[in-house]
Symmetry: C2
Subunit: 178 residues, 2 copies
């Protein structure tokens, strides 16, 4: 999927609606993919994201040690792969092969972008103080990518137990909000 650079000042527009994302990590030449829904924007610029990653996940130790990840945003076409990545562990399988996903080189971090996702956010951990108590990492987005064709973003929003709301229509109201 062809991507163009996306302004860091607009990253909140991608994460604020609450999509399920796929986080990629890398260590010692091995890369992994994790499905994640517990994240929030924390600051507009530099774009800062808080996310919870269970310490039972294979990706937890990798992120804690390497302090780098990519947040990849999938649309509904990837729903089965998203569930697949969430139901398996990188400790026992290669999720790229198992779910036919394609890595692409990032520009600022070691973990790869997922080519099939319409947006990719290269991140570094900037604050780990809440990791031991809450498994909560604070990330700064260093570089963002988007597919120019991704106008109608049919993102996935987890309602629990494998049920997802798919992004519906868009409405616009006069607002002073950023």
């Amino acid at each position: 999927m062809v991507k163009r650079s996306f302004p860091l000042s607009k990253v909140y527009q991608l994460l604020e609606p609450g999509p399920v994302v796929l986080a990629t990590t890398a260590r010692k030449g091995r890369t992994n993919i994790m499905t994640m829904s517990w994240h929030t924007m924390m600051e507009f610029e530099p774009p800062t994201v808080g996310c919870v990653i269970s310490n039972r996940n294979y990706s937890f130790d990798i992120l804690k040690a390497t302090k780098e990840c990519v947040i990849n945003i999938p649309t509904v076409e990837l729903a089965r792969k998203v569930v697949g990545c969430g139901n398996t562990s990188g400790n026992t399988i290669d999720k790229w092969k198992a779910f036919h996903l394609t890595p692409a080189a990032a520009s600022c971090v070691t973990p790869p972008l997922i080519n099939e996702c319409f947006a990719n956010l290269e991140c570094k951990v900037v604050d780990s103080r809440m990791v031991s108590k809450y498994n909560f990492f604070i990330l700064e987005v260093l570089k963002a990518w988007i597919a120019p064709s991704a106008r109608a973003r049919r993102t996935l929003h987890h309602l629990g137990k494998g049920t997802f709301m798919v992004a519906g229509k868009t409405i616009r109201l006069p607002s002073k909000a950023k």
Copy 2:
């Protein structure tokens, strides 16, 4: 709107999809409403929620001092009221009157529920350590309410600048996820 008690173990199903919410606070007999999109689940049980509230908001000082709020979840029918609450300050107007919203008594906290919202989560602040640096409050949900009729929850998801994605169709995939 008639409400029934909602199991605390299922609260994540309401917030994980990332809806815009209305947070109510109370101090010295005055109550206020704030529109909020920057929140995430942090733990299933007790349901724990992290949220960012700008220190420029009238509600920030109230929540910091009183340590209580209610998270109310609106649907698309309330879109204009949601934008109205986001574009005004409780410092200068009474949002209940301005936007024709109705308070209802909570059972565990002082701030009121918004009757027109299909779900209401009574919360107390349990960790303020990240407030000074990130305006980030960690809340525990003490009691949850839901309208029994709220099957198709057409929640709002902010895409920036008054543009909202409205919750679309629901899909279900076999999954081991909670």
